[in-house]
């Protein structure tokens, strides 16, 4: 592979220009992204073919006339040889043609375009909230509970974050609906009308990941403040703020990022459950309805969109890691 050559040169240290490791990283990361993308596309294409029996018959029901089923099969291109279907599927993806819904007869791309923004906003807000809460919290508690300090704080924090992290997002959502919707009546519990409607779904989605993430960052922070380079920073007699935020934090984040990536990408899928708790008009409600009604083209497209979201998050995490820790550029993935 082309990347191995670049890597070998990046590996011979001392003489490398600053731009080289980035080139190697970009080639490797792009290669991995493309392979993952190909697997995702192929898996969603094959999904309809892996279904036992005739998917069209299953979708239309046992009472549907045979002619209708045959017509539908032709319309979906299922009578063509598999390679032709695959080529058609890929061509459709490139041109933005994702097929037609078996249920609503609407173009799938139109439904996705209509439902996607609500999901993106929900996931985006929850994502930002989780990170902006977890990082400062993890760092602060990490400093407070560094070796030989704050044992009670540590116990309280760990217990709370373990409990909050164990509660699945949809159960947390149900609890929020009960407390703020049914009990207090402060906030809307269904739909996406108005800013206040975002509060509970975003909270339901963000609290668990924020708890887990802050716990990871705390543990890393506690370890990192003991590191030799933090002692070096202290030897420079820098203010505590600079020592913790300038020297300890980037390293704590580096160590947390891999796990953070897993947590954050699971939030993409987490929207499905949370959307169903709050009747959110996004893709999460769509995919569940489509699975129940066996609307396979629709399911295929939504799985693709979610998968794409996960790949984007994973790639962004790797880029963030590379920016924070230059050593990861030359490390074999």
């Amino acid at each position: 592979m082309a990347s191995t050559g670049l890597l070998a040169r990046a590996g011979s240290r001392d003489m490398l220009p600053a731009a080289r490791p980035w080139a190697g990283f970009a080639v490797r990361r792009l290669g991995r992204l493309l392979v993952s993308l190909w697997v995702l596309v192929t898996a969603s294409f094959l999904m309809i073919h892996l279904i036992p029996g005739d998917p069209v018959r299953a979708a239309l029901g046992p009472t549907a006339p045979t002619e209708l089923v045959e017509a539908k099969r032709r319309a979906l291109g299922l009578d063509e040889p598999l390679p032709v279907q695959y080529a058609d599927f890929l061509r459709g993806l490139v041109t933005g043609d994702l097929g037609t819904s078996l249920v609503s007869q609407l173009p799938v791309s139109q439904v996705v375009a209509q439902r996607l923004p609500a999901t993106l906003v929900l996931a985006g807000l929850a994502f930002v909230l989780a990170v902006t809460v977890a990082v400062p919290l993890g760092v602060a508690v990490g400093v407070l509970t560094r070796r030989g300090h704050g044992r009670r704080t540590e116990l309280a924090f760990t217990t709370t974050s373990v409990v909050l992290g164990t509660i699945p997002d949809f159960l947390f959502g149900v609890a929020l609906v009960y407390v703020f919707g049914v009990g207090l009546g402060w906030l809307p519990v269904a739909g996406a009308s108005g800013a206040s409607a975002y509060v509970l779904p975003v909270l339901a989605l963000a609290v668990g990941p924020a708890a887990v993430l802050s716990r990871i960052i705390r543990v890393e922070m506690v370890g990192v403040v003991e590191a030799d380079y933090v002692r070096t920073a202290r030897a420079k007699r820098l203010p505590d703020r600079t020592v913790y935020l300038g020297h300890a934090l980037p390293n704590a984040l580096t160590a947390s990022l891999t796990l953070a990536g897993i947590i954050l990408s699971s939030m993409v899928a987490g929207t499905v459950l949370v959307e169903n708790v709050f009747a959110w008009p996004g893709l999460g409600s769509t995919i569940v309805q489509s699975i129940v009604s066996k609307d396979y083209p629709m399911v295929q497209a939504v799985v693709l969109v979610y998968g794409l979201g996960v790949l984007v998050v994973n790639t962004l995490v790797d880029v963030a890691l590379a920016l924070l820790d230059p050593r990861s550029l030359i490390r074999e993935a």
Partner: protein, 639 residues
């Protein structure tokens, strides 16, 4: 089995056992006990809120929610176990495939697992649920297969670890087939972490199943698990909130039970990752507190850079506070090089950190006097102090690889202190950093300043560390084992550099080392430490023929030189260094000393100075030096 009962007696283990026991007990008994009442339709009380008769209210057919929740335990647990079994089985097949299939095919499987594991389990579950169709059976397969990649990845990692061991290689060489090796030698050795993860995985499967049923994709009516009850209950949450909250709570408790059991098992087996750190040491009062000096201060010359009197450092230990530094007194003059030698644990590094005020806030540092350039360091930690320490005192640490921040460029790490203390701008500070890198003989300093520490070699990093100290105008360099972590070939370069720094600007040097040869070659004066005390303070030139403490003589004798007999074993000091937590009442060195007498065991000798300033703490210092030197090699001959 002892570890199991121990684990079960911890609060965590007890909670886990009680919770898991209740869940499993309910799974067995609940359908028998409440089966009838769970299905009893009561049209008289449809969707009623909690009452004395129905503690959690009723559903849309008037059936008792609490009874249904309890009965649903069996199905929920069984489905979770079935899904976990599929995940474990599929994961084992995928995870051991690389071992069984050989390199080429194995790589394909590994790559596929790596790609699959990047996607969240729920997304995989939805994908498989579409294929297998809506319903309990489909959901079992969906959740099982969705959990497989993570389990496969774990198995792969564990198998790869064991496969590299000698006994596996030996079995392979002996011609045992791959499958047989796997079953006989590999799997038994990785079963413990697999069991832990399967237990935790059951909890996760339970939660996932609740999620899938809650979405309406899992268990279908008339069957019901917790997720299905939740699905039915949430629609009526305004009428009877308990209909949603009761099964929700059940899911949570059961999920927690499996997680806790997993963690308890992990702890009992000592499987890493899940277990927490051991207990913390008790907290000491941090900071500096002056103690009374029992000795009249010596005349303080203008050229005194560092003056330390009765330095004591107390740190928290496992069994109460420990004092690894006990009353250390020394001073360093401008341009002087002082070596501090001793075995590990003698307190020399902690002394260096304490005088540099870097001992950390767990260590309690007390001193009768501690001044740097005449400024009292025992006072509060003000900005002026920080500037003085930041510009006049340079630290060089043992391991240059870990002492640089890996995430920041070398130039920026040098410039940082100067920007803070000397008020230099970014460009100015960086220019000075480049200049200093050049001064410590780093070639192409401009390019190097833009690089990260991992792009430097070890010797270069240590020189850069010295350069960092030269950003200010240091009067004192404290170097703590500066060459220990380096290749022998570059050790001399670093020592020469330290000597040059010292010569160029009359900088004082405190060199901490366990290596008498290094200290002798660089320093004017040597302080020998043992068990947190100075036992001798003498000119470096006197080490060979005027060392009066038996410990100093033993240290010197342990250094090979050109005349050393290569056939004979090198002399070592018998016994082990003193434990600062359990010091004898007399001389700490007495248990290892060839000259030890009754007095040595009972009374600790104090450090006494002669007219020339040669200090020694030994009852036999004035005694027959000949006897000691002849006795020492004989005693120290055999390791």
């Amino acid at each position: 089995m002892g570890r199991w009962s121990t684990a079960a007696r911890t609060p965590l283990g007890l909670t886990a056992a009680v919770l898991a026991g209740s869940v499993l007990g309910l799974a067995v008994l609940a359908p028998v006990v409440w089966g009838t009442s769970a299905d009893a339709v009561d049209t008289g009380s449809i969707l009623s809120p909690p009452s004395g008769e129905h503690w959690a209210g009723t559903d849309n057919l008037g059936r008792d929610i609490l009874a249904r929740t309890l009965v649903a335990t069996r199905l929920s647990v069984l489905l979770a176990l079935a899904a976990t079994a599929i995940a474990v089985l599929a994961g084992l097949v995928l995870g051991t495939a690389p071992f069984l299939l050989g390199r080429r095919l194995g790589r394909v499987v590994t790559a596929a697992v790596n790609i699959a594991v990047a996607f969240p389990g729920l997304l995989l579950a939805l994908f498989f649920a579409t294929i297998f169709g809506v319903g309990a059976t489909g959901a079992v397969f969906a959740i099982g297969l969705a959990g497989a990649p993570a389990f496969a990845r774990l198995t792969q990692t564990l198998v790869a670890g064991v496969a590299a061991r000698d006994y596996v290689a030996a079995a392979r060489v002996a011609g045992v087939g791959r499958l047989r090796v796997l079953l006989r030698h590999v799997l038994p050795n990785i079963s413990e972490p697999l069991v832990v993860n399967a237990t935790v995985g059951t909890g996760a499967a339970l939660l996932s199943f609740a999620g899938l049923s809650f979405l309406g994709l899992g268990v279908q009516q008339p069957g019901y698990d917790w997720g299905r009850l939740l699905y039915d209950g949430i629609g009526a949450i305004y009428v009877n909130p308990a209909a949603a909250l009761t099964p929700g709570a059940a899911v949570l408790v059961a999920g927690l039970a499996f997680n806790l059991v997993g963690e308890t098992v992990a702890k009992a087996l000592g499987v890493g990752g899940v277990a927490r750190r051991p207990g913390r040491a008790p907290r000491a009062v941090p900071g500096l507190a002056p103690v009374a000096a029992d000795e009249a201060p010596r005349a303080v010359g203008d050229d005194l850079v560092l003056d330390v009197r009765d330095l004591e450092v107390t740190v928290p230990g496992a069994r109460g506070p420990v004092r690894p530094v006990r009353g250390v007194t020394f001073s360093v003059r401008r341009g002087e090089a002082l070596g501090v030698v001793g075995e590990s644990g003698s307190g020399k590094s902690l002394t260096a950190l304490a005088v540099s005020r870097l001992a950390g806030d767990l260590a309690r540092v007390e001193a009768g006097r501690l001044t740097l350039l005449g400024t009292d360091l025992t006072e509060a930690d003000g900005r002026a102090h920080r500037r003085l320490l930041g510009t006049s005192l340079a630290m060089v640490f043992q391991d240059p690889t870990t002492s640089f921040n890996p995430t920041r460029r070398v130039g920026a790490q040098l410039a940082e202190g100067a920007r803070h203390h000397q008020g230099l701008g970014r460009a100015e500070a960086l220019a000075r950093a480049v200049d200093r890198l050049g001064a410590v003989r780093i070639p192409e300093p401009e390019r190097r300043a833009r690089q990260y520490p991992h792009e430097f070699s070890g010797g270069m990093r240590q020189r850069a560390m010295i350069g960092m100290g030269l950003m200010g105008s240091p009067s004192l360099v404290v170097a703590d084992e500066p060459t220990t972590a380096l290749d022998v070939t570059v050790q001399q370069q670093v020592l020469d550099l330290l000597a040059d720094v010292r010569a160029a600007d009359d900088v004082a040097l405190v060199l901490i080392s366990h290596d008498v040869a290094v200290v002798r070659s660089v320093c004017d004066r040597v302080v020998v430490m043992y068990a947190g005390r100075i036992v001798e303070d003498l000119p470096a030139a006197s080490l060979d023929d005027d060392a009066r403490h038996p410990y100093t003589r033993a240290l010197v004798a342990a250094v090979p030189d050109m005349d050393t007999d290569l056939e004979a074993a090198l002399p070592v000091i018998p016994g082990t260094p003193a434990d600062p937590g359990a010091l004898p009442p007399g001389c700490a060195y007495a248990p290892r000393c060839p000259l030890a007498s009754a007095r040595c065991v009972e009374e600790d000798p104090s450090l006494v100075s002669d007219d020339t300033g040669h200090r020694v703490a030994c009852w036999h210092a004035d005694g027959p030096a000949e006897a000691a030197t002849t006795a020492a090699p004989g005693e120290v001959g055999v390791p």
